[in-house]
Symmetry: C2
Subunit: 318 residues, 2 copies
């Protein structure tokens, strides 16, 4: 084993990452997951002593594979659309959920403030071709969005076939902040768990590879990261005074997360809790979750829909 972890992707120890991180039956309390733990990480014999350097190197190697799989996904959608199909993309019009369309992947990232959503996107998505990414962030709904059901803006933000979508926050805010801050009556947010499950079932039925991830940090780690944002002038822009108001309601948010995860963890669309106090572990775990999702899609490059030999003659005869 080389110092920085070899040149091949090493599988997680003890099972698939999805198996190791999925919220279990009867899950009810985030307190049972240690934000500093590292499920699946090989022991010292596997990582050669410096597990942080090893994991970073592994993320780089995983990124190469993710980039290739993402290209195959994109190629399948482009090829199936036919040679003269419009290539304008991504458009909001092309997100229909008819069955039989080429696959797509959607990574849903949720976390408390400072949980590492942006950093995860930078590290993990940064390894893929930006042309094939469809990243959408969700903040407080606009006036127009509030005139529709809570899933309206979510549907419009879905990745088109062939794309890897990333949701930086998501429809889960509508059972998290909406609940903790009493933005809607309890009966309203309570009804949303079933609406979410039905919606996600529709997504997975349409061939969307859905990966729902909670980046799980500790109260202490959040405090440390907020302090960094208040200390480094280059990070002031990431800080909002309202972050401390949310922090004051930490336990309420943890309870809201726990219920959302318990109610909306389904076999079609499971929830994964990634311990995220250690950034290098977080990135490594999310990269593996994505890899396992891609593997399920059983991707390959599409066969040519033209006569290759004839085209070669056309080209070389000129």
């Amino acid at each position: 084993m080389e110092l920085f972890g070899g040149t091949e992707v090493v599988a997680p120890e003890g099972g698939t990452m999805r198996g190791l991180l999925r919220v279990g039956d009867g899950f009810a309390d985030l307190g049972t997951v240690d934000p500093r733990s590292t499920p699946g990480l090989p022991g010292a014999a596997g990582h050669g002593g410096d597990r942080k350097a090893w994991a970073r190197r592994q993320v780089g190697l995983l990124g190469v594979g993710l980039g290739r799989q993402q290209e195959m996904l994109y190629a399948a959608a482009t090829g199936a659309a036919g040679p003269d199909a419009p290539t304008s993309a991504p458009t909001t019009a092309d997100t229909g959920l008819e069955r039989g369309r080429p696959g797509r992947v959607l990574l849903v990232l949720q976390a408390m403030d400072c949980g590492g959503k942006d950093g995860t996107i930078k590290r993990v998505a940064g390894a893929m071709n930006p042309l094939g990414l469809h990243i959408r962030s969700f903040g407080p709904p606009t006036a127009q969005e509030r005139r529709h059901g809570f899933l309206w803006r979510i549907r419009r933000a879905l990745p088109p076939p062939g794309y890897v979508g990333i949701f930086n926050r998501s429809h889960y805010e509508d059972v998290l902040i909406a609940r903790v801050e009493s933005l809607v009556p309890e009966a309203t947010w309570r009804a949303r768990y079933d609406e979410i499950n039905a919606f996600e079932r529709e997504l997975t039925d349409a061939g969307v590879g859905l990966v729902k991830v909670l980046l799980h940090i500790s109260y202490a780690e959040q405090g440390q990261r907020l302090l960094e944002r208040l200390t480094d002038p280059a990070k002031h822009w990431k800080y909002r005074p309202s972050d401390l108001d949310s922090r004051a309601r930490w336990d309420d948010y943890q309870a809201a997360y726990a219920e959302a995860l318990a109610r909306c963890d389904t076999d079609a669309a499971p929830w994964y809790v990634v311990p995220a106090d250690r950034k290098w572990y977080r990135d490594w775990a999310v990269a593996h979750l994505l890899r396992e999702t891609f593997d399920d899609l059983d991707l390959g490059y599409p066969a040519a829909d033209f006569d290759v030999a004839a085209e070669r003659r056309r080209l070389c005869g000129d």
Copy 2:
């Protein structure tokens, strides 16, 4: 000088990249630009002998700086919007061109088939944070798009303030393929040069840093790359039989490009021709063009719009 080019960004030799690559006064013929030339590349004393490895390493270093400048651009837009602004982004609704809004950058990439647009995006944009990128590809207009003027879909695809937009093809197709393939009457495409200049003036007046790049490859290099796509099954999906029809009209396209560049090179929105037969030079040149554009914006991290000391007390007193 280290073997792979040191650890600092080296400026182009002989002037700025923008100065070296801008189409000159009286430009009329792409034949005057050698697609294998390397304007601005330092001599052997500068790159240490292996110029390809040197340039690749430099692109990596340039990418770090581009990533930082892109973050500053994003931070300025986020900060100026205020702490409670919706963060839903990017939306098509938020692309207004009122003056005084935070800056944005728009890289317009044009090229013949196989010219390297996708590769450039992967290499150069791949160095930036995907969260702050707004990439749009333009193919043949849809039925809906054809019911509007040719700039309608372009306006809808502009990056919101704070974002780095990349157009993979653009409104220039409306004076290129539209002309060569006679998709519209001559009077129609002829009128578009002035429309484009007025539109781009509107963009730059609104603070959009516009970088228009033609990736200029040779007929021989295109043939080589098409052959690769026909030879490697993993690249078949990138090939379309219609590529050879366009290739048969190479001279017509080169003439259409030459006139578009001559007519739409303005001081507000200059055109740059990047010799692109050598991919490592192409990436290096485009990274420098972007860097010089960012430098013009004179970016910095925004000052806190809250009382930093008071927030620290709030945080640490809890």
